[in-house]
């Protein structure tokens, strides 16, 4: 079904980003309203899509498309939204809306460029998820790199700039490999449309198939941050302001995961990964990466670094469970993508709030934070409990399905890694919680000293907004924990699509 609403999901953020500098020339106060209006429009389009096509979703034939320039699928660029993209796209609209609200209270300087880049990231994410064209996907991946790198350096100190340089080098090399892969696909098949590439990929000769797969794998593993290429991730995700860490770690990694899924389940069929025995190797690579992430998180004394390493652990786990290529695996993986997005975003946002009351990110400065901000710290604890996998929260259910998926096909190493990861998570979160409730006695001079030592960033503009957003995320993990069956319908539809990619090809090419 042709629908313009999926185009608007990409265009609206771009228009907002282009308008902000123009508006700044006249009046800087209007900017905040424009930003909020942009966020509201974006999220309302998402809600509109869900509501008006809900009957289609129920009937199992949810499929939206748009032809850019009016050129039909094989010859022009087309946008596609199926059930998997629906999950990711609406999650991103939702999460980024709240991060925007949080930023309004949180970011104090250089707001104009911050929001420009933020909305460009939003548009690029939606574009990377919705596009049905390989080269267009490459353009959006590069756009993601170019927009997120200056935001990594946003704090403008030595640490952040180093992180940005490292991020940029890895990002550009990953993008270059992706470019080579796209070009190889074009030279062999003669098309750039994902459905047509999927149709003809089996006809390429074996050696070339292997080459294409390995080129794409190098590019995407760099972008996702799996073990041999993960060096950029913890630095980049911990150097920026917390709202951006939430964006990068909570949301952006999922976009790359989505691209991985889209590429290796639909464009390049999964049977080729099995044929060349790459799949089982990748499962172990992802699990080792997960283990590494959790182990490094144990020894990190900087809270944001710890959270970033924990992200490596979780992303490796999700990738491994997807690569099992079973129905339970997809269910657990997709559910954990949702839950990790909620939990990690919430954790980074609440950490951002708590860190305003400390001198640095180091664990020793974390002492006594729990007494100063009681409500937020309780929220922080609930989020960590969900991260560990305590029953009433969503984290438990998604981890449960992941372990089930591993056990179902007798993959004991995977199950052990998941359990070990949760156990180590207990330790590394408990260290910070215990430190937060430590009793400290401050003399008057100490207090004065601490206030003067605070970083410049620690000025809250609207504290109420910040805390409200954090409470919303805490509420979300509790609510979705009790009612995670709400996601049942889109998840099942998405799983059907992943198991049967031929369906996608038929819908686009009309065969």
């Amino acid at each position: 079904m042709i629908s313009i609403s999926i185009l608007l999901l990409i265009i609206i953020p771009l228009v907002v980003a282009f308008l902000i500098p123009l508006l700044d020339l006249y009046n800087k106060l209007l900017r905040r309203y424009l930003v909020i209006i942009g966020g509201v429009i974006e999220i309302s389009i998402s809600i509109y899509i869900i509501i008006s096509y809900f009957s289609d979703l129920k009937a199992g034939k949810f499929f939206l498309t748009y032809y850019l320039g009016g050129w039909g699928p094989p010859f022009g660029i087309n946008l596609v939204m199926d059930s998997v993209s629906l999950i990711f796209s609406s999650l991103i609209s939702f999460a980024l809306f709240f991060i925007i609200i949080y930023s309004i209270g949180f970011i104090g300087h250089h707001e104009g460029k911050y929001y420009v880049l933020f909305f460009l990231i939003l548009g690029a994410m939606q574009g990377a998820i919705l596009t049905g064209d390989m080269f267009n996907l490459y353009v959006f991946i590069e756009l993601l790199t170019v927009t997120s790198a200056p935001l990594v350096a946003f704090k403008r100190n030595k640490h952040a700039t180093e992180a940005a340089i490292k991020y940029m080098f890895y990002g550009v090399i990953g993008g270059l490999f992706f470019f080579v892969g796209v070009i190889l696909l074009y030279f062999n098949i003669g098309s750039l449309n994902m459905a047509q590439l999927a149709q003809h990929f089996a006809e390429i000769e074996n050696n070339m198939q292997l080459t294409i797969i390995s080129i794409f794998l190098i590019g995407l593993l760099i972008k996702i941050g799996i073990f041999p290429f993960h060096f950029w991730l913890p630095k980049a995700h911990s150097a920026c302001p917390s709202s951006l860490s939430a964006l990068l770690s909570g949301v952006l990694l999922k976009v790359y995961l989505y691209i991985f899924i889209r590429l290796f389940w639909i464009v390049i069929g999964f049977e080729f990964l099995l044929e060349f025995n790459i799949a089982s190797f990748l499962v172990y690579l992802a699990l080792v990466s997960s283990l590494f992430g959790h182990v490094f998180a144990l020894q990190a004394s900087d809270i944001k670094r710890m959270l970033a390493f924990s992200s490596i652990g979780h992303i490796g786990m999700i990738l491994a469970v997807f690569l099992l290529n079973t129905e339970t695996g997809f269910y657990g993986g997709l559910l954990h993508i949702i839950s990790h997005l909620l939990m990690k975003t919430g954790l980074f946002l609440s950490t951002g709030y708590l860190l305003q009351y400390t001198k640095s990110n180091h664990i020793d400065d974390f002492a006594g934070v729990g007494h100063q901000n009681k409500g937020i710290f309780v929220g922080f604890i609930l989020l960590t409990l969900s991260m560990i996998g305590m029953p009433p929260f969503i984290g438990f259910f998604s981890k449960w399905y992941i372990i089930m998926a591993f056990l179902k096909i007798q993959h004991h190493f995977g199950a052990i890694v998941v359990v070990l990861g949760s156990l180590s998570a207990v330790f590394y979160y408990l260290r910070f919680i215990a430190k937060g409730y430590e009793k400290i006695k401050l003399s008057a001079s100490d207090l004065k000293n601490e206030i003067y030592n605070r970083p410049i960033l620690s000025v809250f503009y609207r504290e109420k907004l910040v805390t409200t957003v954090i409470y919303i995320f805490v509420g979300m993990i509790i609510l979705t924990g009790f009612s995670f069956r709400l996601f049942e319908l889109p998840l099942q539809e998405g799983i059907k699509e992943l198991i049967n990619p031929q369906n996608y090809i038929n819908l686009i090419l009309g065969g």
Binding site: F135, P150, K158, T161, E162, I165, M168, F179, I183
Partner: protein, 111 residues
């Protein structure tokens, strides 16, 4: 075959520069050389000995080189230029804080 050889040499030269050189600006140059290698390869391979894909007004010859790789490469070149500019900006900024562009002396780039 010759084009593939030139491509491989240039690509690995660029990768070598990125990995083993310590001067950050040299590393960016290496990245540029990698990009150049890829773009050169794309154009060289897509050349089938036919003419430029532009119509002449009076003679409508229709045996053109494949225009698609050229369009894709054009996009790639422009994206590459903007990433280069951004990287150099970061290096200027880093030099301001750390007073060096030697990646060996920046422990943050070496862990």
């Amino acid at each position: 075959m010759l084009h593939h050889l030139v491509f491989t040499v240039l690509f690995l030269l660029g990768l070598y520069t990125v990995i083993y050189k310590n001067n950050l600006i040299k590393m960016v140059i290496g990245l540029n050389i990698m990009e150049i290698a890829v773009f050169f390869w794309v154009i060289a391979v897509s050349d089938t000995g036919k003419s430029v894909p532009i119509y002449h007004l009076n003679k409508f010859a229709a045996s053109f080189n494949d225009p698609v790789p050229q369009a894709l490469t054009l996009t790639g070149i422009i994206i590459g230029a903007s990433t280069t500019a951004l990287l150099l900006t970061f290096i200027i900024e880093l030099n301001k804080f750390a007073d060096t562009i030697d990646s060996n002396k920046l422990e943050g780039l070496n862990e």
